[in-house]
Amino acid sequence: MHKLLLSMVVLCLASLNVFADDSAYNALMNSMKAINGVGLDRIEQDEMQAACSNPQSMIADPEESERLRQSAMAAVKKPSDGVYLGDWKRGKEIAANGKGLQYSDDQNDPNGGNCYACHQLDPDEVAYGTLGPSLTNYGMRGQSQAVLDYTWSKLWNATAWVPCSHMPRFGHNGVLTEQQLKDIMALLLDPESPVNKH
């Protein structure tokens, strides 16, 4: 009986793992061309990406999921000078900027965070997406060290909290610089930020 259960579990895992073979990678390598600073290396997956590429958008094995989450958390780099908050005005521009790292972008320009693609922030900006939760009045959480650490690590690598999160790993993947992350922190947490003025 145990043996039967075990083979059923193995079969189940095998059927999930059908998404983890090389066929998608090979097809993309055959189908794409490097262009304007965007190379075929972008097609290669890291461990988290590979583990999350399935219809459930989940890591099937809970132990594996927790291992990857902890390793993401351990790799979060806190601000080198201990200062978490930059300038919300600059943060506002970064949040509205959808450019960066596409082959159509000028590779010398700073990257945007494109926060409004998925989140509501300043309620006066009506063109916001709904893939992520509203962050309007995020600053009501205050500026305790716990809030600073949580928010920073979430921006740096969202999978440190939620494996397979759909939010880009802005710090971990070098999408935004440390200064840009500080400016986004200020946009979220500064009481004077329009995110918190309503």
């Binding site: 055959n30 794409m32 596409q102 009506v126």
Partner: protein
């Protein structure tokens, strides 16, 4: 002068007769479609022949209904092909043209007024208007393309960890103000797949489904997806099969 232009415009609209009822009369895709109809009949290439003998899957020269049953497996190439790949194949084999030249610049850049691939796609898709989207899933290669398309749909990569599924696996969500299709459902896949080629008002040209695949990859921060490539075709198979008989509405007009 204004009257003359108006007369020409009215003439153009009326010349498409039967589809005028189904189309939004204001859709400029009509002009691309007319160009495409002419291009189909125009002798071209070293062989100086038209595309009239091109087999789009329903037999040589049969255009009506062909788009709604693509992508499909073709015996002569041993491949699953979408419309764009098949057009390139016909231009090479029938007209004797150079594949690299045809595919060097298949999609308009902003400010350009349309390419041969865009015009032909618009006209050919229009000949499947209101027909159910039913690409065959009989040949092993067609089934394998669907399986691959599904894997590609969930494949996450690049600097932003995006996959198609990041935006297109949920219903009733949006990016900024743009509503997103849930391509895992028949309704969502049918509405999205069936609406291309589409005239994009913000870009001033008709965009094909091959362009849509390329542009989604660009937005995912991935390299340039090639026309008629294995991945592009497999993703189209995934969507078209998921559409499950939903009607073709192309050419449509989009933001």
């Amino acid at each position: 002068m204004k009257k003359l232009i108006a007369t020409i415009l009215v003439g153009s609209v009326l010349s498409v007769g039967v589809i005028a009822d189904d189309w939004d009369d204001d859709n400029p895709a009509i002009f691309f479609s007319e160009d495409g109809a002419d291009m189909w009949l125009e002798p071209q290439g070293p062989n100086e022949v038209s595309l009239e003998e091109c087999d789009l899957g329903l037999g040589a020269g049969v255009v009506e209904g062909a788009y709604a049953q693509l992508p499909r497996y073709f015996e002569d190439t041993g491949k699953v092909m979408d419309l764009e790949a098949r057009l390139v194949h016909c231009m090479v084999t029938l007209q004797g043209r150079d594949a690299d030249e045809i595919t060097a610049h298949p999609y308009s850049l902003s400010g350009e007024t349309g390419t041969e691939i865009e015009a032909l796609s618009t006209w050919i898709a229009e000949q499947s208007l209101d027909m159910p989207i039913q690409p065959p899933q009989d040949h092993d290669a067609e089934k394998a393309a669907y399986t691959l398309g599904e894997k590609l749909f969930y494949y996450r990569a690049g600097t932003h960890d995006f996959g198609c599924s990041t935006c297109h696996r949920q219903s009733n969500t949006r990016i900024r103000l743009q509503e997103l299709a849930n391509l895992t459902t028949a309704d969502g896949a049918g509405a999205a797949y069936g609406s291309y080629p589409a005239y994009r008002v913000t870009q001033g040209v008709v965009r094909s489904m091959g362009w849509r695949m390329r542009d989604c990859a660009r937005q995912q921060r991935l390299p340039e997806m090639q026309l008629g490539s294995e991945a592009s075709v497999a993703l189209q198979v995934y969507m078209a099969v998921n559409a499950d008989g939903a009607p073709m509405t192309a050419p449509t007009m989009k933001r």
